[in-house]
Symmetry: C2
Subunit: 285 residues, 2 copies
């Protein structure tokens, strides 16, 4: 007898679940000559292979290595769809993550030839191509963010920043919902590099088939060109940072029409671009 038919579940790659411990204790001596234990952030080399071809080595905290590998391939436009990914397998014995695809990466050499060392936390990204992609980004115009929702998000983010508080050598990124005066954190990823953290969020969104159009992206890191490009690529209209921004981050945010808020902590913030989507006094979602 056959079981009643269920709608086919969307394809999900086969994944390991190989997170590393986030912090390690080392001995230190403080200014009073006292010896103590200090937690420091993990940092691991993770070499990315796609269908047996070595792409590059990522240095990572290792908190979400499978999502990081997926998000890197997504954000670098090396793989078009999560449906093309069969498996993502991390093996820390050999510091490797192996991504198996259905069709391989077409023109890998061409796609990775022109690298850019991007600001601060760059990664040898295919910058020129990303800038061209940005021309095609259309962010939703009919969504709004209220000050009350922003404050709720900032309050909730505070509770998440565990590794930062302990070890102080990581950046955190979050994807959050945008409700009527409330915001829920859907994903929170910390990494030694903020570009790893944003890539891991992109990987999680891919896996769970979560769209960005009704979401808020939060980062502890600075809003450089590459951060703004990545948020726009993910289709997210709201970008919030605890830190400052750069001129090129600002220029790109204006160009793509993203609503960008910097220096956001407690009940302080600076709204830089996209004011038309922001309600200062209101609480509507």
């Amino acid at each position: 007898m056959n079981a009643p038919r269920k709608p086919a579940a969307p394809h999900r790659p086969l994944l390991t679940n190989a997170a590393r411990p986030a912090t390690f204790n080392v001995t230190s001596i403080n200014e009073h000559g006292e010896t103590g234990e200090t937690p420091i952030a993990g940092e691991h080399a993770l070499t990315l292979f796609v269908d047996k071809e070595e792409l590059l080595t990522l240095m990572t905290l290792g908190a979400a290595p499978e999502a990081l590998a997926l998000g890197y391939l997504r954000n670098q436009r090396l793989i078009e769809s999560i449906d093309d990914v069969l498996a993502v397998q991390v093996d820390w014995e050999v510091d490797a993550v192996v991504v198996k695809t259905r069709h391989g990466i077409r023109d890998l050499a061409g796609k990775t030839a022109k690298r850019t060392k991007t600001s601060g936390c760059g990664q040898g990204t295919v910058f020129g191509d990303l800038m061209e992609d940005i021309e095609n980004v259309r962010l939703p115009g009919d969504v709004r963010l209220s000050q009350a929702t922003l404050y709720d998000l900032l309050n909730k983010v505070r509770l998440y920043e565990t590794i930062y508080k302990q070890a102080g050598a990581v950046h955190g990124c979050a994807l959050a919902s945008n409700g009527a005066g409330t915001s829920e954190i859907l994903y929170f990823v910390e990494d030694v590099g903020r570009h790893n953290a944003v890539d891991a969020i992109a990987g999680l969104m891919w896996l769970d088939r979560v769209g960005g159009g009704d979401k808020i992206f939060y980062t502890t890191g600075r809003l450089t060109s590459e951060m703004v490009i990545k948020a726009a690529q993910m289709g997210i209209p709201f970008l919030v940072s605890r830190s400052g921004l750069t001129q090129m981050g600002y220029d790109i945010a204006r160009k793509v029409g993203i609503t960008m808020i910097g220096r956001a902590a407690n009940k302080h913030y600076l709204l830089f671009t996209g004011a038309e989507r922001f309600d200062q006094g209101g609480s509507g979602g």
Copy 2:
């Protein structure tokens, strides 16, 4: 009539002097709805050519673009000696820096084939090779740093962090002398990425033929593997950061025997490695 002969000055490449303004004002709206001017850090694409061959694009504040290009080539082990460099010419009209060498770069393709996206502020560096180089680093064992000298350095660094204070989106690096209870800042460079700042310092040291063995390296950024490798490559025995460190940064510091101090600000610090070179109570240089 001939002028009396002077000893030959050491070779110095022909350089432009094309620093960009560090900050730009943009309009922002704060939480009270007040519109104001906020300084933000510059960020510029700068494509590096060596003898007409395009290497990569750096994203930089543009404060010391010639030194940045030189230091990048030095720290990536692409050029062996400053004597091989004939000219470094920055042209912001085309966002390019052109380095002319005497002999070119041997096996450029091989040297740049294996890239690593390093933690946080990586840059697609030739990581594997750098780790091998580290095996050959010998730091001086007969120099010492005193707490009094460290405090003097931290005090002087505070006065330098101009762009960070204004725009908050840059990292600063300094090279300082190690005197008897005093420290003088020889170079201070800020950039949107801390790896750019450390590369620019390496370029300045090359140009001025300054050795690292009797110096202190200070950074506002985190001490990841790559930061520790670069300090060691420059032969600097003392590495001081206002921020935290990562596990791999710690492991490499122990391996090369660098004296590493983190969380250093005001009169607080944590000494992590190389305690044998540090005088906690003393003031001797």
